[in-house]
């Protein structure tokens, strides 16, 4: 059964696009047929994060306006079998698409793909409404900061109001060293405040910057801690039970970290 997943956050710069790119690539590596849809019209970036910016011919607006067929606008990622990108238009704005058109597009894509990942723009206006219109499930990305958590709370409320029940939380850029010395909210702190289920935690990792520089998602890097975290989230999206972190045991910091992000069995 195919599924439309929207990756959203409210606040900008928390890692929606990076998350979309990594989870999409991970799902494709797991053998699923995946399309990534960039709905950030006017400020598209999923194309550069994926390293596919030079291959854009048609875009999302062309598709909804009927200037081309969906298949013509889809960019096939030659590195990963079954992975496609539908880029946003760069020279238009959010009003070029409406929620009804997005719902229709998602329905059409569902016939072809196992997973449709929607990269949502920041904000709660038209772009957000478009992005969530055709979605079955939502992943809310936040970082352990006051501003990001506050916006996540607002987004969760708006998702519920739009009948998108049970959104899942992804905590991005967690720094265990800061959590340990009490200078960063912990996973439990954030879950307490937002009262939603967790789908995963991605540690702050320099390798994300390096991989974005290259246009190669970090999930393909076996050594990257963030890559491991993304691989775990991919498994959870596919319905697998992957154990979460345990903070209470007293053990070496590196071991603990490895265990938390699934590099070590126990």
């Amino acid at each position: 059964m195919s599924e439309v997943l929207v990756i959203t956050s409210g606040k900008g710069g928390v890692g929606k696009t990076t998350t979309t790119a990594n989870l999409g690539t991970g799902l494709a590596l797991a053998g699923c047929k995946v399309v990534l849809v960039d709905t950030d019209i006017g400020l598209r970036n999923l194309d550069v994060v994926m390293g596919l910016e030079n291959r854009i011919v048609y875009d999302l607006v062309d598709v909804v306006e009927g200037s081309c067929r969906v298949k013509q606008a889809l960019i096939k990622d030659k590195r990963y079998e079954g992975l496609y990108l539908l880029p946003a238009a760069q020279t238009r704005d959010k009003s070029a698409v409406n929620p009804q058109q997005m719902m229709k597009l998602c329905q059409e894509l569902k016939e072809e793909f196992d997973y449709i990942l929607i990269d949502c723009p920041a904000g709660i206006e038209q772009g957000f409404k478009n992005a969530i219109a055709g979605a079955d499930r939502a992943i809310v990305v936040t970082t352990p900061e006051v501003s990001a958590v506050r916006d996540a709370d607002r987004i969760i409320g708006l998702l519920e109001a739009n009948e998108l029940r049970n959104p899942k939380l992804l905590i991005n850029r967690l720094r265990m060293d800061m959590v340990k010395r009490g200078d960063m909210m912990s996973i439990d702190d954030i879950i307490d405040i937002l009262a939603i289920g967790l789908i995963g935690v991605v540690p702050d990792d320099e390798k994300i910057v390096v991989s974005t520089n290259r246009g190669e998602p970090a999930i393909t890097d076996d050594k990257a801690l963030a890559g491991q975290a993304y691989r775990n989230i991919v498994r959870r999206i596919r319905g697998e039970e992957v154990p979460f972190l345990n903070f209470n045991e007293d053990q070496g910091f590196v071991d603990k970290l490895k265990k938390i992000f699934g590099l070590k069995a126990n």
Binding site: R154, E160, V179, D183, M185, I193, A195, I196
Partner: protein, 94 residues
Amino acid sequence: MLLDLSKIFGKPKNSKEVAKERLKLVLIHDRANVSPQFLEMLKSEIIKVITNYMDVDESALDIQLTKTKSDDGESIVPALYANIPIKNIKSSGK
């Protein structure tokens, strides 16, 4: 006996505790997307009914719109939180 050492030595709180407190406060306002007048009306109606049965401390009354997990834990539902300190229960109400 437990002593709050941080209070005695005046040690500042962890910044994450500050963050949590500030967040919780700001979210109470964000979540209550009803007008303050609405809450005031609700508050006075509740007091009106309750004072028929008991004496309450009106100045310490705390009413908030917040949210909580539903019984099945599947979704988040809005909740009306009311903390009403009772001074005395009227015998006529029994």
